[in-house]
């Protein structure tokens, strides 16, 4: 049969199977190969909090979703076009998101009696006709693979484990993506394991050939290359981007980096990356707990390093007291909080945006500090640089919020050159005669920085209120008022040192959507789609939450109706209302799942239709 090549704008593929089925690996390979072959890609790994949940169970399903397209791809896709389902449970939990007419590549071995029972299917969906509105392609992958490797002498366990490469090969053919990156990767990875290497490469190729030859696959899909700016690219996750951001920030500041931290999902990756960077001269401490994580970083900051600490919700809660110490000692410190579902241990592997209140308000006493948020995986790099810039320039702790979605999801990132990035060099005081620890830069209000080792500037600082300029412990009422106000004013002044917001979409719109953090992609797509439909809607996305950009007030004033979609119960909305004394509408999804484009579109429609009714 001659295969037809169909050109697509975008498509969403989901690899789903058991935790042991290698779906994360397949997904990652597929996205790397796709991105490097010129399409835009956005991914979302979605796995259970159990390490190895019992095989075949519904809660043990591990999935990896990729959206690819030739235009800018902002999300990992609402609905699935192609679902690879390695067993019954993975079909069951994902079928609800499959588009009508979508393709299911199902591995029949995963639909035996035991698997069906675990998935709580009464009859086999591959056979009972219940999937008739989909393009179902059941394949006995296990037998095909076994056949392919027959006589190779490769251990049956290895043979069985290579199934995912068959599925990968299939999809490579299906979307006309190159297999070379994966072959290259296999060659490095299994350099010393010839049998695994051989098995995987043969099975991968078998997948490709199977699709090529089999009639079930009628079309091959392809994309126009995405229009990327010239440059060097790689796929990157938010956590990886943070780690690189920290390293680069310290180079641009020309001072050493110190990370003090304690592992916690979904922030642990950052520590893991950093711990491998010793040859870049980077020091870190995997501390005994979060408190030692942040306080050791404060110690390093006191010593003149660019100091950072990384965590997620429960860990942030433990760092609160020390954050106050960093505020009053006015030391630079970068706190990266990768948000996850709360409260308490909550949903540790799922994303949420519910730590905004805590970042803004969660300290005892008046303890203002800058809060910023990253909009996407790649943006985590820029925002890490920005957090470092603010911390060093204003002598203050800075909280950067990301979340489990962008921390683990990936997108292509244009790798910057060092010259493109801002100079972050701090100014150590070098004039002992003029030095006083709480003397301030008249413009930024940052206090002077002298570090141990610098002669003639020996001084003492600490957590007690201190006298203006001298830093001597002081309980005078007026001095306290002054210091509280100075600390506030210093943060407020940052307003003038951050970019103004640009309103996207239709500036004449009646409805303004204000977003923050990782929901950028979903909101942007929704607004873009609504604009295409002719709806008048505008959009601003906040990256600086404290202080807000200077023109936010103006913008808020201009629009009749304001929608604030958040993965929480309305935290930004409330903060905006308090600030701008204007009622706003919240769209509050607290499900441990990122927004879908359709969630936002639906809400926009709802608001606009009600407005019409009212008018």
């Amino acid at each position: 049969m001659e295969k037809e090549i169909v050109y697509l704008d975008e498509i969403t593929v989901r690899f789903a199977g058991d935790s042991g089925d290698g779906m994360q690996l397949a997904g990652k390979q597929f996205s790397n190969a796709s991105a490097s072959s010129g399409v835009d890609v956005n991914t979302f790994p979605d796995f259970p909090s159990e390490i190895r949940a019992p095989e075949g169970t519904l809660y043990g399903v591990s999935a990896f979703q990729i959206k690819l397209g030739s235009n800018s791809v902002n999300t990992h896709g609402d609905m699935i076009d192609v679902l690879v389902a390695m067993n019954a449970s993975s079909l069951k939990v994902n079928i609800g998101n499959l588009k009508a007419g979508g393709m299911i590549i199902a591995s029949t071995k995963g639909f035996d009696a035991r698997n069906l029972k675990l998935a709580k299917y009464d009859s086999n969906p591959l056979e009972d006709g219940s999937l008739s509105k989909f393009n179902l392609i059941p394949l006995d992958i296990e037998s095909i693979v076994k056949e392919e490797l027959k006589g190779s002498g490769i251990h049956p366990k290895i043979v069985r484990k290579s199934k995912n490469f068959f599925a990968l090969g299939l999809t490579y053919w299906l979307f006309n993506r190159p297999m070379e990156p994966t072959v290259k990767w296999l060659n490095t990875k299994f350099k010393s394991k010839a049998d695994v290497l051989e098995a995987n490469i043969r099975v991968l190729t078998a997948g490709w050939n199977y699709a090529l030859k089999n009639d079930a696959f009628k079309n091959q899909y392809n994309f126009q290359p995405a229009s990327f700016e010239k440059g060097t690219y790689r796929n990157i996750s938010g956590n990886h981007a943070v780690a690189l951001g920290l390293v680069v920030a310290s180079k641009k500041a020309n001072i050493p980096l110190f990370l003090g931290t304690y592992p916690i999902t979904p922030a642990t990756d950052i520590l893991q990356y950093i711990s491998g960077y010793k040859k870049y001269g980077i020091r870190h401490l995997q501390a005994e707990d979060e408190i030692a994580g942040i306080t050791s970083a404060i110690g390093a900051s006191y010593g003149g390093s660019l100091a950072a600490t990384t965590t997620s919700g429960p860990g942030l809660s433990l760092k609160i007291e020390a954050l106050g110490l960093a505020v009053i000692t006015e030391l630079p410190l970068v706190i990266i909080n990768v948000q996850r579902g709360g409260p308490s241990t909550g949903l540790p592997t799922k994303p949420e945006q519910s730590d905004l209140y805590q970042a803004m308000y969660g300290r005892h006493g008046e303890a203002p500090l800058p809060v910023i948020a990253a909009a996407s995986a790649a943006d985590c790099f820029d925002m890490t640089i920005e957090a470092s810039r603010l911390a060093l320039k204003y002598m203050t702790p800075v909280i950067l919020l990301t979340d489990g979605y962008i921390a683990q999801g990936t997108e292509p990132w244009k790798i910057p050159t060092m010259d493109e990035l801002p100079d972050l060099a701090p100014k150590f005081c070098d004039d002992p005669k003029n030095f006083a620890p709480y003397k301030r830069d008249p413009k930024t209000l940052a206090r002077m920085w002298a570090v141990p080792g610098m002669q003639g500037m020996e001084h003492r600082i600490g957590g007690l209120e201190k006298q203006d300029i001298t830093g001597v412990v002081n309980q005078d009422p007026d001095n306290h008022q002054k210091m509280v106000e100075l600390r506030q004013e210093k943060i407020d002044r940052i307003t003038n040192d951050i970019p103004k917001l640009e309103v996207m979409g239709n500036p004449e719109a009646e409805l303004l959507v204000i977003g923050w953090g990782s929901s950028y992609g979903a909101i942007k797509s929704a607004v873009d789609e609504k604009l295409k439909e002719g709806t008048k809607v505008a959009f601003v996305h906040l990256k600086h939450m404290n202080p807000f950009p200077s023109n936010l007030g103006e913008i808020v004033e201009k629009y009749d109706t304001i929608l604030v979609p958040e993965m929480n119960m309305g935290q930004l909305k409330n903060i905006l209302q308090a600030r701008f004394i204007k009622p706003m509408i919240g769209l509050n999804k607290v499900q441990g799942q990122p927004f879908k484009t359709s969630d936002i579109k639906f809400k926009i429609d709802e608001i606009l239709s009600q407005k019409e009714v009212v008018q």
Binding site: N32, S36, P181, W185, F228, E229, K230, G231, T232, Y233, R234, L244, V247, A253, N254, I255, P256, F258, G260, K278, K279, Y280, G281, I282, R283, L285, A287, E288, D289, I291, A292, T295, S296, A297, G299, A300, G303, G304, S305, A307, A322, L325, T329, I415, M418, A425, D430, V451, P452, G453, M454, Q455, E458, H459, R460, I461, G462, G463, L464, V473
Partner: protein
């Protein structure tokens, strides 16, 4: 190509290093109560400092909260008055990132053994090169007199009006059990001995823990009288000296001998025992250190003072430095642009 920090801290020291104790006294009032045992730490620290020959700017004192927490204000070097219980964690970050500094911690029995207990035990095992002085007054003083983890069972304080129920920590045993390399103890009545202990702590490469019994004359006055008062002192304490037998008593007439593992007091004058029977101290023997540590609350034997143990083990900060150097030596200093590119980048032209 030095970075900015290296550049700032590597300027040569100008002037003499022949300091006087007064060079370490800043121009501030010491805000401890008159008669506080804290003075007996401050003065030997200031006296000992010139001996180290370290430029003042290379010395940092970190503290937590408590009466002891004010210590950094009274030393004219770099100082950081941290939050309650976290001094060792702050100091660890400082020392790991700045191995060129001499980093000291001033802490209390509450600060270090109650809220700060976790950082203390991890400090001990990690062996970061810090010098930790614990002001043990067996009470929370700054909060005006509650019992602490070193208060004795039955102690009447504001928060234990009917007597404390907790068994106290034995700080030396806790430090040893946590893997500390250097463990010592002194008391406020013997400043010369304290000066010696602080010097030894400073010389020790690794985590050095010096417990000091200090009298809080406001909230726990006389806590140590039973063995520290002038008239009983020599009969109720024994000085540990490496390689020397444990002799004590006003007349040097008693000694400590081991019965199995059990230390017992013997007379050197009644003819039953001679010096040769006595336990000889060995700073390198960690079992012995534990036996000596366990004498602390044993009323039948004198209270040991001095250095329980002093072992050599690579310090954590040195190991970090070594790992960095080794990586760079074997793999070459990393190139940032290659780090950013990674292994799977592609070009868009």
């Amino acid at each position: 190509m030095k970075n900015l920090l290296d550049e700032a801290i590597s300027r040569p020291h100008i002037g003499t290093l022949e300091y006087q104790p007064k060079d370490f006294k800043p121009d501030v009032d010491v805000r401890w109560c008159a008669g506080c045992g804290g003075f007996s730490i401050l003065s030997p620290v200031q006296r000992m400092m010139p001996d180290l020959g370290i430029p003042k700017e290379k010395i940092a004192f970190i503290s937590g909260i408590g009466c002891s927490g004010r210590f950094p204000y009274y030393m004219d070097v770099y100082g950081f008055h941290g939050i309650h219980g976290r001094a060792i964690a702050i100091a660890s970050g400082l020392k790991i990132s700045r191995p060129d500094l001499s980093v000291w911690v001033a802490t209390g029995d509450g600060d270090n053994m109650s809220i700060g207990g976790n950082h203390f035990i991890h400090g001990c095992r990690r062996n970061v090169d810090l010098n930790v002085i614990m002001f043990n007054n067996e009470v929370y003083s700054l909060t005006k007199g509650q019992y602490s983890p070193t208060s004795h069972k039955g102690q009447i304080t504001k928060s234990s009006p009917l007597g404390a129920l907790d068994e106290p920590f034995n700080p030396a045993a806790l430090a040893l059990g946590s893997g500390a390399t250097f463990v010592a103890r002194g008391f406020d009545k013997d400043r010369a001995h304290l000066q010696h202990l602080f010097k030894r702590a400073a010389e020790h490469k690794g985590f050095a823990f010096v417990e000091v019994y200090v009298n809080c004359n406001i909230f726990n006055d006389g806590a140590f009288d039973s063995f520290a008062k002038k008239d009983v002192r020599e009969d109720k304490t024994v000085m540990l000296e490496h390689g020397k037998p444990l002799i004590f008593g006003k007349e040097k007439d008693k000694g400590v001998k081991l019965d199995g593992f059990k230390p017992t007091v013997v007379s050197l004058t009644d003819g039953s025992h001679s010096v040769a029977d006595l336990l000889v101290h060995d700073e390198k023997d960690s079992t012995l250190a534990f036996i000596l540590g366990n004498m602390t609350y044993n009323p039948e034997v004198p209270r040991p003072l001095g250095i329980f143990q002093s072992l050599e083990r690579p310090s954590y900060d040195d190991s970090v430095q070594f790992q960095i150097d080794h990586e760079i030596e074997t793999k070459g200093a990393g190139s940032i642009s290659e780090l950013l590119k990674g292994k799977e980048s592609w070009e868009v032209k």
